[in-house]
């Protein structure tokens, strides 16, 4: 068996906390794209990283930060694409130009560089595609060929297809209901593009990440996935966001997806075991879980 992917390296810069102004708001189908004037975050950000917003104002009863992937970070501007899932993300989508928000970032580990000369396949599910726009541009600028797949439940949940089309050599679109592109899951297109790929990057819902990572690993192609796990702080202090991750020493630990992720080697995430406590996780014995 080939060795597992090298773990994503730490980010080059520590995060900052700033109150920043919303300078742009654009409704894009089911999502809202916000542009923030956040030069100190923009200059530090690397593709794959995210920001964490305080929501609801200073006396808000919603205490926990909301993590949102950075889509692009250029010229002092940071863009994010937000889907209104619950009260906190809905509040974010209601921000208007001129409003200010308290944001911490950039957070988490960025996508690592591809192997030299490798053609990259980028796979985004729903708003997860937004997180790949900055990466696609960086890879192209570094001379890599880029292919992209964007998938979603329906046409209104696709994201960043236009931006990716401007960068990638080939862009495939899939929807579950066939309302845009081909009917089916992203794996339909991934299976076709994978033979040409030297590295795969994916961002989206867990079942998609798992399917993409499994397909890449089956062909011995390194893959990196940006996971989305429930987070309370986003900065590594609360331990709520853990996933079972195989470490460099081959042992599985509950690793924080905010600081040790969100980008993990696709072959290092034990997707089957998310939400359970397997006996071979480091420290499971102290919880009374014994080897079968």
């Amino acid at each position: 068996m080939s060795p597992l992917t090298a773990p994503a390296p730490r980010a080059a810069h520590p995060p900052v906390q700033r109150t920043v102004e919303v300078v742009g708001r654009r409704a894009v189908d089911a999502y809202v794209e916000l542009t923030l004037s956040a030069p100190e975050i923009a200059e530090r950000a690397q593709p794959g990283q995210f920001v964490a917003f305080a929501v609801g104002g200073e006396t808000s009863a919603l205490l926990l930060r909301r993590s949102i992937a950075i889509s692009t970070a250029d010229d002092g501007l940071v863009t994010v694409v937000v889907s209104a899932a619950g009260p906190g993300s809905a509040w974010l989508t209601e921000r208007q130009p001129g409003d200010t928000v308290d944001v911490v970032g950039p957070l988490g580990r960025p996508f690592p560089d591809p192997p030299p000369g490798a053609r990259a396949l980028l796979v985004g599910g729903g708003y997860g595609a937004a997180a790949l726009v900055g990466l696609a541009a960086r890879l192209r600028d570094a001379g890599h060929e880029v292919d992209a797949v964007a998938g979603a439940a329906g046409a209104d949940r696709l994201c960043s297809v236009q931006e990716l089309t401007g960068i990638a050599a080939r862009v495939a679109v899939t929807t579950d209901d066939g309302s845009s592109g081909r009917r089916g899951l992203v794996t339909l297109a991934v299976d076709e593009l994978l033979p040409d790929a030297g590295v795969v990057y994916a961002c989206g819902p867990m079942p998609m990440l798992r399917a993409v990572a499994d397909a890449a690993t089956a062909r011995s192609i390194p893959s990196y996935v940006a996971v989305e796990e429930s987070m309370a702080c986003g900065i590594g202090v609360c331990m709520t966001c853990v996933l079972p991750i195989v470490g460099e020493d081959g042992r599985t630990r509950f690793s924080r997806s905010c600081t040790e992720g969100p980008v993990f080697g696709g072959d290092r995430v034990r997707f089957d075991d998310v939400g359970s406590l397997p006996w071979d996780v480091v420290g499971a014995d102290a919880m009374g879980v014994v080897a079968p």
């Binding site: 205490l63 309370a232 590594g236 202090v237 331990m239 709520t240 509950f254 420290g283 102290a286």
Partner: protein, 312 residues
């Protein structure tokens, strides 16, 4: 900050250990401090209260580990941590190199575990003192939580006091989930606690209306954040009234300087900021500054003058 701020003497002590600021992190809410370095000057805060450590590394519980609740959250982390060897090898040296004071929280499931941890921490550079997290199930008493039984709680505290470095103040961390918190406070004080940390989280539950099952992997979880502040303040008030000589490290829902002021007025000589750090990573430093201003505005020349003021 303002002139008012610098005018107030904010120094205090944890037992016999002097600290320059009365505002500390809360155990489990700032990991081992390192992640807060980009946001606060860790050497300026009272101390980093570290995540409760046990003898062995612990994986913690399965996810989901948290649920947001009105003005708070429920957590069931399950004391994930590196174990005492990891703490001594990595986290404590990191803090000591930077001159950060560490108030080390220890936890266990039997009395001897706590004593061994206290012993291992004797003379370790950078360790200011110990906070004893007795909100753990006692394996020798069918899993009853130490903090809920004055006798079991005092057994732990006296064993820790006997094993610990004499220079380390030992604070017992109390649970609010008891009928009479004063009797537990009195018992652990008599057993040798140099101070009391209060309060730990309250036991709570959230059910997902869609799945119709408990949200948390651990089923129940600990409730924290501003939602519990009045309960915490009541506990501090009652204990200070009954035991005015016993120092209290107050916590539970502190988000602003005025929240911290309430704890000080009720009898706390220092405070921990926990869940609020998730909302604002610079909260510990901000609460210090806001508290200094609030004390100055009320005519206090020092923090010490305000401790327990509401009782007088």
């Amino acid at each position: 900050m303002t002139a008012l701020d610098t005018a107030v003497d904010m120094r205090t002590t944890l037992g016999s250990a002097p600290i320059p600021s009365p505002v500390l992190t809360a155990s489990g809410c700032s990991a081992f401090g390192g992640e807060l370095e980009p946001f606060v000057d860790l050497t300026a805060i009272g101390a980093v209260v570290t995540k409760s450590v046990q003898l062995r590394p612990r994986s913690g519980r399965a996810t989901p580990r948290m649920a947001e609740t009105p003005s708070g959250m429920l957590n069931s982390i399950g004391l994930q941590g590196p174990g005492i060897d990891g703490l001594l090898a990595e986290e404590l040296p990191w803090l000591a190199e930077r001159g950060v004071r560490a108030f080390v929280s220890i936890a266990g499931t039997r009395v001897e575990d706590f004593a061994e941890l206290a012993e291992r921490l004797r003379g370790v550079p950078g360790v200011l003192g110990l906070e004893v997290n007795i909100s753990c199930p006692n394996v020798e008493s069918r899993g009853e939580v130490f903090a809920c039984d004055p006798v079991a709680a005092s057994d732990v505290v006296s064993a820790v006091r006997a094993a610990a470095d004499p220079a380390h103040p030992v604070y017992a961390k109390l649970s609010p989930d008891v009928t009479d918190i004063v009797s537990v406070a009195r018992a652990v004080s008599e057993a040798g606690a140099d101070g009391l940390s209060m309060i730990n989280t309250l036991l709570g539950l959230v059910i997902d209306p869609d799945t119709m099952r408990p949200v948390l992997g651990g089923v129940t979880g600990g409730l924290s954040g501003p939602a519990i502040r009045p309960v915490a303040l009541r506990c501090v008030w009652q204990v200070h009234q009954a035991l005015p000589e016993v120092p209290i490290l107050g916590m539970g829902g502190i988000r602003t300087g005025l929240d911290a002021l309430q704890f000080v007025l009720a009898g706390a000589s220092a405070v921990s900021v926990g869940t609020a750090v998730f909302n604002d990573p610079s909260a510990v430093a901000r609460v210090h500054d806001e508290l200094a201003v609030a004390l100055g505005e009320r005519g206090f020349a020092s923090l010490a003058e305000a401790v327990g003021y509401a009782h007088r």
